[in-house]
Amino acid sequence: MSVERENDHWLVRPRTIRWLWIAFSAVLALVVILQFGIKVKGYFGIDGWLGFGAVFGFLCCVGMVLMAKGLGQFLKREENFYDD
């Protein structure tokens, strides 16, 4: 750990970031566990399953990022592509 890193803003210190990850994971677990106490109404059946929102949200994002990556292979160009 370089001294410089420790002198940086508290928010970007590795210790803080580790704590943020722990807190974030706890919140993620909490919103799924809460479903035991709070009923999520399933309008179309599967959307009432335990953790459906979590899995659906996660998978959709992975899908969209991968799709963007894939399209990017074909559609990305140099910044000055249109310069004339």
Partner: protein, 560 residues
């Protein structure tokens, strides 16, 4: 017949005065005129309150309804906060054209007939182009030209449609219709071009980011949202809009994910958000139209807020690319927090305005039993959090330490951002008073616990996906091809090819065919050339002899 002061006229007068005045007097006009306009908007009663005769038609420049007042209200509010944000930094010209642009949008909001709508529609195109040009760079100049051409084409299509509908029905009234014949289709297409619908969505992300830091705030608010209002008035429940809306939603997400320019990310997310509204208009039930109107209202505020926050960054650092930015939270805490509030609102995070308005649209899909649309909208909510909710603040304010240590926002920009941030949270925490302003009665509880939990799961796990996929989202110094390639590259190539071909053909023709006419040319030159018998000048004597010969011949012939 006039019963009210047209709100558009107030703002248009203000725009002219901004150009004529300076100093504190101008600042007073910039800050007070939108408030007077807002007051005038509230005075507009339901129904037609002003008529003007024009080439045999009775125009209705001011027609009020709850829906029109809602849009006019947010347009005025946006002008006030945008004016507050801009008045110390923007040029008088930019302020004047921005206000004229806002006035035109108000004109559309209250237009009671198709001709008035068209006039203000075109005024909006002109003034918004001027706002883009105020960007002042060669890039802004070229982008503004492309923007103007696109909107002129849209305007012509709209005009032809309006003329067709007027001839068919004999009426210029604005009323709900379906795209059934060529005229109504042309109106629909004309409106959709302004809504940045496919295949021409590219005009938006091409032009808006080239405006100044203040100009983009105004641009983000009016053109697409007046198109949404016009669609609600003219094509509620038009089924084709559902598909178009869904396409726009995902187009916005994918392109924003690929983009490196922070302001272009926000521009793509305008297309994405307008997609939600267009889809809702396609569903067309009262709940859905309420959702579209409410979402447009909330959207103008949080999108304005996001553009303001990106604008402060651009103003302070002169940079707008994610690769150049990062770590700005250290010295720009207020801009950062306001940006995050805007980002959470656009992602429809609970307790923000996006949550209470977008939920109406999802609920409408649910009520109609549109399962696929409902799940696509949910997936899109996750995607919005990904591309705008986290990506924008993360890459601009956190990410890495770019070494930049700019000052935070100037006081007026800070105040404008804080105002909008408070409204974002206010609409999220207390939705009921806002629901009461919507065109149809609302009986909806956005904060049913099950729903909140569902969206928290959806959004928080999208956040997890973002941070896990961060390596895959490393920003590159690239742009992404769009349909504008067709007119920026393909059309120019075609034109160049045509030019080269025509030149070559012309040369070949001169070489091969001209010699055949050589005999004819020599003969013609001999007789009519400068020394030819028919062209050379004669002496007066010769002329006199010939005249006497001809005259004698004439006299002789006369007596025969």
């Amino acid at each position: 017949m006039t019963e009210v002061l047209p709100p558009a006229l107030i703002l248009l007068t203000a725009a002219m005065l901004i150009g004529l005045t300076r100093g504190h007097f101008r600042s007073a006009i910039v800050l007070l005129s939108p408030l007077v306009t807002l007051w005038a908007v509230w005075q507009v009663p339901d129904g037609v309150s002003m008529t003007v005769d024009f080439i045999g038609y009775q125009l209705e420049p001011v027609e009020g309804s709850a829906l029109r007042r809602l849009f006019a209200m947010i347009f005025s509010l946006m002008t006030f906060v945008g004016g507050l944000y801009a008045f110390r930094h923007a040029s008088a010209l930019e302020l004047a054209v921005s206000y004229a642009y806002a006035a035109s949008a108000l004109g559309v909001a209250f237009a009671g007939d198709l001709i008035t709508l068209f006039i203000f529609w075109e005024a909006m195109a002109i003034f918004s182009t001027a706002v883009v040009w105020c960007g002042g760079t060669p890039m802004a100049g070229r982008a503004g030209k492309r923007y103007a051409i696109m909107h002129v084409i849209g305007g012509v299509i709209l005009m032809v449609g309006i003329a067709g509908v007027t001839v068919h029905t004999g009426s210029i009234e604005i009323h709900a219709m379906r795209a059934v014949d060529i005229s109504s289709w042309m109106i629909l297409v004309g409106l959709l071009i302004n809504a940045a619908a496919p295949p021409v969505s590219a005009w938006l992300s091409d032009a808006y980011p080239e405006a100044t830091s203040t100009g983009a705030v105004f641009l983000s608010a009016f053109t697409t949202k007046t198109a949404v209002l016009a669609l609600i008035l003219l094509f509620p429940g038009e089924p084709v809009l559902i598909g178009i809306g869904i396409y726009m939603i995902f187009y916005g997400i994918i392109y924003a994910l690929l983009e490196n320019d922070a302001r272009r990310i926000l521009a793509y997310s305008i297309v994405n958000q307008v997609g939600f509204m267009v889809c809702a208009i396609g569903i067309g039930t009262q709940l859905a139209l309420n959702g579209a109107a409410a979402h447009a209202f909330a959207h103008i505020i949080y999108k304005g807020l996001l553009f303001m926050s990106a604008g402060v960054v651009l103003y302070r650092t002169g940079k707008r690319k994610c690769t150049d930015l990062g770590g700005l939270f250290r010295t720009m805490p207020l801009t950062c927090v306001c940006g995050i509030i805007g980002a959470l609102s656009i992602s429809s995070f609970p307790l923000t305005s996006g949550f209470t308005t977008k939920a109406l649209i999802s609920e409408a899909a649910l009520a109609e039993g549109l399962a696929v649309i409902y799940f696509l909208l949910a997936a899109a909510s996750a995607g919005v959090f990904l591309h705008a909710g986290i990506k924008f603040p993360w890459f601009v304010f956190f990410q890495k330490d770019s070494g930049l240590r700019p000052k935070d926002a100037p006081w007026n920009m800070a105040l404008a951002m804080v105002l909008f941030a408070l409204i974002c949270i206010g609409l999220g925490v207390f939705p009921q008073p806002f629901y009461a302003l919507l065109p149809y009665p609302v009986e909806y509880d956005a904060y049913a616990l099950g729903k909140v939990l569902f969206y928290l799961q959806l959004l928080l796990f999208s956040g997890l996906a973002f941070f896990l996929l961060l390596p895959a989202m490393k920003r590159t110094l690239t742009i992404t091809l769009d349909t504008d390639w067709l007119w920026r590259i393909c059309l120019r190539l075609l034109a160049n090819t045509l030019l080269v071909t025509m030149t070559a053909a012309n040369e070949a023709f001169s070489r091969s065919t001209w010699p055949r006419f050589d005999t004819m040319r020599t003969w013609a030159r001999r007789h009519w050339g400068d020394q030819g018998v028919f062209a050379r000048s004669w002496t007066i004597g010769t002329t006199a002899i010939w005249i006497s010969v001809l005259l004698s011949g004439y006299v002789l012939l006369y007596y025969i």
